[in-house]
Each structure stands twice: as structure tokens, then as C-alpha cells.
């Protein structure tokens, strides 16, 4: 099996605030990410598709098609947007890179027609990223060594 990864950069604003928490709790839990004016990141999305290369083309999937899917599903929804206010899929969710990765997985999964979506990685900065994958069958949940 081959894994093919395509990268997309998008820039967006967000802030973290949960209306169920008091102002004090929001500040304590979210720190400076709670600033109500918002702040922004240059996000880097890496989408990995796994599959066997088609013997006639040598490709798992046409990267041009994947590029178009990423442009349509992700860039057009999220690039130069405020994630708290302008992305309906994130409505009611705190727009952390974990939640952004999960939403992007759900947007892309039905659109990948060749190969299988293997991993969605969202970098918020060079020092922080979230991965969304499919839970391995029979994997222990929350178990520790």
C-alpha cells in the first residue's frame, strides 16, 4: 500500500470561548486564546490517502483531483475566514486544531473516490498539530502502559 500526501495552506482567525463557562473559567482554561477579538494562524493541512497504484496510470489517485477537492472543501470554506463565525461545520464547537482536523476528515472522507482517506493532519504552527485517523479495530481506548 502507498500513502500519498497533499498539503494545503490556509489562513484563518479564531478564538476559544465556551458560553457554558464563566468569564473567569474561560480565561483560566483557554488563556490568551480566549481573547474575544480573535487571533489568526497560517494553518497547514496535510491530507494522506492510502491505496494501491492503478497499474495503468501508476497513481493511487490523481493529485490534481485531490487538489481541487481540497480547494473546494477546505480552502473555499476556511481560507481568510473567522472559524468561530463563518464555518457552519464548526458552529458550536471550539475551533481547536483537533476539531478542525475532525471536521476536515468528515468533509473529505466522502469525496475521496480512489484510495482511502488515511490521515488528516492540521498544523496550527510548526510546533503544534493534530492528527485525525480512523480508530484501529480493537485498539485500547484510554488505556495506559
Amino acid at each position: 500500500m502507498i500513502r500519498v500526501t497533499r498539503r494545503l495552506e490556509f489562513s484563518a482567525a479564531h478564538f476559544y470561548h465556551n458560553p457554558n463557562f464563566s468569564a473567569e473559567e474561560n480565561r483560566r482554561i483557554f488563556g490568551k486564546c480566549n481573547n474575544p477579538h480573535g487571533h489568526g494562524h497560517n494553518y497547514v493541512l496535510e491530507v494522506t490517502v492510502a491505496g494501491e497504484p492503478d497499474p495503468s496510470t501508476g497513481m493511487v489517485l490523481d493529485l490534481k483531483e485531490l487538489k481541487d477537492v481540497l480547494q473546494h472543501e477546505v480552502a473555499e470554506r476556511m481560507d481568510h475566514r473567522h472559524l468561530n463565525y463563518e464555518v457552519p461545520e464548526l458552529a458550536g464547537k471550539i475551533p481547536t486544531c483537533e476539531n478542525i482536523a475532525a471536521v476536515i476528515w468528515q468533509l473529505l472522507e466522502p469525496k475521496i473516490t480512489k484510495g482511502k482517506l488515511d490521515r488528516v493532519r492540521v498544523y496550527e504552527s510548526a510546533d503544534l498539530f493534530a492528527d485525525c485517523t480512523e480508530e484501529a479495530k480493537g485498539a485500547p481506548k484510554g488505556r495506559r502502559l
Partner: protein, 149 residues
């Protein structure tokens, strides 16, 4: 139907430290053969990059696998403060017994970080230089095999 999704969070930290690869139990000749210039008696250093990967359920109230406000001070206390700008062989007690290869540094950091209370430690990866990296995972595959027995 949506399959069950798994989320993990990876945070990158940096520390700089010196080390020397040398085992007193081996002869000088064996040390030279095994460790080459890494055995230079005065030691040498690296700018290490540490990647810590945690997994677990995303808390619906915070949207997080782990809160960096909790993780950063934990890693700072357990690893950065004791390792940064230190001579690992002499200033980290565990390496008085074992050679501070980056494999062993990985194991020691894993041991220190697995006590993080709010998410499961999934992987520790250390980049010793831009050409060398080492990682230690949570042996998930072995667990799966056990679970199926």
C-alpha cells in the same frame, strides 16, 4: 456511516544538551569501534527537538485532547528544566547507569511523560539532528494482539 475517529495532538519542544557515548565496561578499542567520534572524552552537544504525541477523546467543552496550559508546564518540569543546557551523562542521574544515546534519551523521556494525567502518551519522537530521529510509541500493536487472544 462514520467510522470511529481518533484524534491525537503533537507538540514540539526544544532543548540543547551535551553527551558522550562511552561505556566504561568496554575497552577503549571497543568504545572507539562502537561509538566513533561520539565517544570524544570531552563530549559534544545537540539542539534536540522533542515531539510529544498524546491521544484520547476530544473534550466537547474545550475541543481539546489535552490543554497546552497543562501539558507545557508538565513537559517543562519533567524534561526541559532537567535536560536543557545540561551534560546528560553527569547531570541526569539515569545516564550515570546507561549511555545517553538518543534511543535511551527517548526511553527516559517516555518514562517521565507517561504520567501525564489528562491524555494517553502515544509517542515520543526526538530529532537529534536534521538527519537523525528516534521514536518510541505506545506498543498499540502488541496490545491489539493481546486483546484478540
Amino acid at each position: 456511516m462514520t467510522a470511529s475517529l481518533k484524534l491525537s495532538l503533537t507538540r514540539r519542544y526544544r532543548f540543547a544538551a551535551s553527551h558522550r557515548l562511552y561505556r566504561p565496561a568496554f575497552s577503549e578499542e571497543e568504545n572507539r569501534r562502537l561509538y566513533g567520534k561520539c565517544g570524544n572524552p570531552y563530549g559534544h552537544g545537540h539542539n534536540y527537538i522533542l515531539e510529544v504525541t498524546l491521544s484520547g477523546p476530544v473534550d466537547p467543552q474545550t475541543g481539546m485532547v489535552a490543554n497546552l496550559g497543562e501539558l507545557d508546564p508538565f513537559v517543562e518540569r519533567e524534561v526541559i528544566e532537567p535536560f536543557d543546557l545540561k551534560y546528560l551523562n553527569e547531570q541526569v542521574s539515569e545516564f550515570q547507569e546507561s549511555v545517553p544515546t538518543t534511543e535511551n534519551v527517548c526511553c527516559e523521556i517516555y518514562r517521565r511523560l507517561k504520567a501525564f494525567p489528562s491524555a494517553r502518551l502515544e509517542k515520543v519522537r526526538i530529532q537529534e539532528t536534521s538527519n537523525n530521529s528516534f521514536e518510541l510509541g505506545d506498543e498499540r500493536e502488541a496490545w491489539n494482539a493481546l486483546d484478540e487472544e
